[in-house]
Amino acid sequence: MKRKHFLSSLLTAGAGAALPALGASGRRVAPDPTMVRPAAPRVPDYLTKGDTIGITCPAGFITMKEIEPAMQQIENWGFKIKIGDTVGKRDFSFGGSDAERAADLQQMIDDPGLKAILCARGGYGAVRIVDRLDLSGLSNYPKWVIGFSDITVLLCHIHRNLNMAGIHSKMCNSFPDDWSKAEPVQVESILSIRQALAGEVIQYPIAANEKNRTGIGEGLLVGGNLKTIETLSGTRSDIDTVGKILFVEDTGEYLYSIDRMFWNLERTGKLGGLQGLIVGGFKIKPDDPGEEFGRTLYDIVLERVKAYNFPVAFDFPVGHQKNNYALKYGMSHRLTVTAEKVTLEDHI
């Protein structure tokens, strides 16, 4: 029964992954979004008290001490923790060798006793192990994979291959040591992870922005770190965005590079069929002297989406910043952008 379910979900995911057709001119033609209905995602069970969350390092290294604040908080929430072998391991920037990181994550994927896998931090390295993973354990024992930044690789890969929901959120390295000194948005961002795990509605504090483009869009919410999405292009972790709401964030990139990445989205058919675009935080690397790009992030995005009609929301609280709320990745959402406010609702 489970096997059958797995196969059918793979087939649906494959069918949904088709890219827009090439027109006579060789350019990608935006499909009619009303023609595309992405299959409903598989949603792992929400967590209840007593459930266990695994902590692993698929990318950068972290010390045991650095995950203590996260462990304390997660235990306060009433969950148990299983610490993976890669926590405390280090191979230069990685949390252990590729083989060690893959084995740790695989073991958690296969563990029927785990309800969620929290990646300890991002950095770089998930793409080096993703093709070694056997996702059938995740399909047989669905669980939430949690993280962002480099973990975009895993979120995209799982969405593409299993159409299973995940959680895009802060990780262990963002839990404050001292809650009394943490800013309210940081606290709320951390608490939103529990809300997402419990299946509760999350209220996103989204400021209106005069650059926003109004409208309403409905679809599965996908995206993540923009550079990471670009580096997945053409691979078997590449996401299909047709009929979906795309969110992007990035850090440390030049404006010209952000522009080039938006062109990659366009040229790989990821903008044409969108239901909505959410632009999170972008920490921009200043232009080199004499190489001033002369366009802001707003200019870059609005120029790129000019030909389309979907709503666009800027300054969404997601990214490499304190206000980085948990997003229910791969689940159905409604994005409503008006001149006065922006709302993102799940459970629709």
């Binding site: 191979d91 230069f92 950095g123 770089y124 580096t231 590449d238 040229r267 232009d287 190489e291 002369g294």
Partner: protein, 302 residues
């Protein structure tokens, strides 16, 4: 069957255009004079004297129009790009190659121009020149071996390059079409209509100013796209001005490349003189080459 544009002869016209980043007009003077000295008519495009006050050498429309005119003008036998930078991604899908297809001409450049090489190779099966650009004629470059290799290549001389052995080289030999260019751009083209299918080809790569982890990530992207698995050979040019993160990556760029291709058997050579670092011989992109990686040294011959 690949299309080889007619080789140039003195008296032919070479168009200079700047399809990407802005270039000071003065930076092109030596190039213009040198080409004229070689007996060519030089048609200086509007984007070479741009009044742009921003990053680009003109708006997308201006850069497109200038390049389009050079492509469409039957008198123009070669298009030499002023410099790279960034900008071809923004106009590549709007270029009309129908006149170029009927009358192929040499497209010359590297770095961001990798997009043009890849696009015309994949879509129009046309050979082009991965070579120094106008800026490289300055500071004595016009009399140097790299500009000389550009002249020789566009005038029809067969390219034959040798370089020293590198301890990481994997010996072997192969004869196959040579494709490639700037790694960042080749990664950026994955999944687009400009991407090169590299199976059975000799791939050459170079890059500048990237973080080591990002070089690793881009190589994984090529690998995961199946672009490294079935190569005939791999030529690694300069990876100059590499940067590292606060937490060191722990591998040199050569370590990174060697690890990514260690499972394969094709010949690989390192430190080949194609780069942003000055050492940059002209290569005919898409042309068939013989690559010999020997214990004593490396030869790449057309």
């Amino acid at each position: 069957m690949m299309h080889i544009p007619p080789y140039l002869q003195p008296g032919d016209t070479i168009a200079l255009v700047c399809p990407a980043g802005y270039m000071e007009p003065a930076r092109a003077q030596t190039c213009i004079e040198t080409l004229r000295g070689w007996g060519y008519i030089v048609q200086v495009g509007r984007t070479m004297n741009s009044s742009s006050d921003n990053y680009f050498s003109g708006t997308d429309e201006e850069r497109l129009a200038d390049l389009q005119e050079a492509l469409d003008n039957p008198a123009v036998k070669a298009i030499l790009c002023g410099r790279g930078g960034y900008g071809l991604s923004r106009i590549i899908d709007q270029i009309d190659f129908s006149a170029f297809e009927k009358n192929p001409k040499w497209i010359i450049g590297f770095s961001d121009i990798t997009i043009l090489h890849a696009h015309i190779y994949t879509n129009y099966k046309t050979i082009s020149l991965h070579a120094p650009m106008a800026g490289a004629f300055n500071d004595g470059g016009a009399e140097g071996v790299y500009v000389a290799s550009l002249r020789a290549a566009m005038e029809g001389a067969k390219t034959r390059l040798v370089c020293d052995a590198h301890p990481f080289n994997r010996t072997g030999h192969t004869t196959a079409p040579l494709v490639g260019g700037n790694l960042s751009l080749l990664a950026h083209l994955c999944g687009t209509a400009s991407e090169i299918k590299t199976k059975g080809k000799i791939l050459f790569l170079e890059d500048v100013g990237e973080y080591l982890y990002n070089v690793d990530r881009m190589l994984y992207q090529l690998k995961r796209n199946g672009r490294l698995e079935k190569l005939a050979g791999l030529v690694i040019g300069g990876f100059t001005e590499m940067k590292d993160t606060t937490r060191p990556f722990g591998q040199t760029v050569h370590d990174i490349i060697r690890a990514v291709v260690e499972k394969y058997n094709y010949p690989v050579c390192y430190d080949f003189p194609v780069s942003h670092g000055g050492d940059n011989y002209a290569l005919k992109h898409g042309m068939e080459y013989t690559l010999i990686v020997g214990v004593e040294g490396v030869m790449l011959e057309e």
